[in-house]
Symmetry: C2
Subunit: 348 residues, 2 copies
Amino acid sequence: MSKSATFQINLQNIAYNYNYIKSNVNHCGAVVKCNAYGFGATKVVEHLINNTDCRSFFVNDINEAIEIFNVSKESDSKIYIMGGFFDYEIEEIWSRNIIPVCFNKEQIMLWSEHCKKCNKNKPISIQIETGLNRLGLDINDFFKMKSILDSIGIDFVMHHLACGYEEYSTNNSQLEKINQIQGCKKSLSSSCGILLEEKHHEGLSRIGRFLYGSNEQSKNIPLKSVGKLTAFIISVKNVLKGEYVGYSQGYQAQKDIKIAIVNIGYGDGYAIRKGFAFTNGSYAPIISCSMDYLTLDVTSINLNDDKVELLGENITFEKIANWNSKIKGMEITCNLGSRVKREYININ
Amino acid sequence: MSKSATFQINLQNIAYNYNYIKSNVNHCGAVVKCNAYGFGATKVVEHLINNTDCRSFFVNDINEAIEIFNVSKESDSKIYIMGGFFDYEIEEIWSRNIIPVCFNKEQIMLWSEHCKKCNKNKPISIQIETGLNRLGLDINDFFKMKSILDSIGIDFVMHHLACGYEEYSTNNSQLEKINQIQGCKKSLSSSCGILLEEKHHEGLSRIGRFLYGSNEQSKNIPLKSVGKLTAFIISVKNVLKGEYVGYSQGYQAQKDIKIAIVNIGYGDGYAIRKGFAFTNGSYAPIISCSMDYLTLDVTSINLNDDKVELLGENITFEKIANWNSKIKGMEITCNLGSRVKREYININ
């Protein structure tokens, strides 16, 4: 049996999470950008198409869209590029019936001209700037271009909540702004927004982190864990009181301790310097993290098993986010490197 | 021209850095673990073999070793696995004449038995624990196993400085410990150690970060920049005083500002939330970082060009480390994801 660090992905639990969310909203699609947050876009999309009614997929760029197109073209799926497009990409988008989510006047004009050139209108989606201050068309520009947009066809108008996890007043001000637009289908919410009042998740909800079992907030919803990251203890040693562990005397033992060296590090995308790993039924504090290794304090643990959980049912995304205020749990899965073996399972 | 985020790697500058370091030490090899710190192990090894006298390559596991073996087998190169080995890997290592760096008694015994079985001795290297408290054989165990090791053959004894960047007293205590072993070739130093007194870099030096132009300390050595990471501004907008930018009201404008959205984010491995990007001749503060985008404050910048440097001659590894005390610059290159295009150049 290989003792590489392994990321095990439970596809059935992705479908479970999709179905659970779907039962709570009107309509939803799957966000599969960034290689499905590191869970593997091709596998995730194939599984959702074969096992659920999910037929809307959201990516961020043309290459991701083409990857999804190649596995979904036999279905009746819609693929949305949330990052808009560059002029040189238009033919590749058009020829595959991919839907760009435009966020500026230039993109709308390019698409409109392409429609004229091809003597055919294909609808686009529009992202409206309502308060996140990231990508989004100024709402006044939307109204100025409304007649052009009406002739092309609007698939959805969309916005992105800045504080979806919390009941900030900005949620309502963002909603009021996008509701100035009437008579279009809307996509208002990503994962976190569906826990707010229903008015925030009318239309199509774009489900990302919830699909992958990540819910970094206090509200309890019964999502299933999807990813399990494990690695192996390859060395155990005693460290005497006063001795140091790791580079630049990063950790000093306050008493005699026992440490375990685990074969994963920041070079594998596991750049976690605060928190715990789970092994042999206990939580072991991380005391050092280098490119290839994590070091754990296992003083009080009876080590019968050399396997260590670094993400999963015991080390949840929420826990990692609590231990490291600046790190999003998804950062880990997106960045897991090629030394980490992927393993897909399909069991409940 | 594609406007994907791009990591441009100057192979000639890797060779330059190797030759510069080599002129300052007795003997050195290249650390190419973790896909050559993200610079591309195959390309780096091929270039070093074809353009320098580098013939010792250090990796961390069997898969990395096999990759290097496949591009170096026509040369007289030596490949070292610094992470030792598991029992089930021994035949793959043996058959390719790869040299494991053993760090425990079990590995030495396994190798010794395999030598007997094959009726042939092949030397191994040994890592000694001298104070980093990571992987390393207890020096007393080394002496207990000396006769077995002498019959197998010792390629190098090796240790790893815990505080190589600084003149800590531990450098000398580590050296004193490994110098209890006499009559073996030694490998004492990685990049940083070669800036210490000569006694710390006798034998074979293992050059990693210096090869890739990273020198996160104050001592000035004339390394050339090897990696240049760029991305593109895809949106510019004005934000009024008091408005927020990014998730959870992460940034509030203290005056009317102009922001630029750049198409790279933590999902691409660029998880930098503090510091600057370099664009149009100026340093622009990073004010927000999400999975797919960075947001910069470009209020005072005249934007003629939409290209942004995120790592390179202006945004050095050292600067990133200074802006983010917990982040090693190498963390970025190791973790750059598949959406970032790689581009190799070979110019001085």
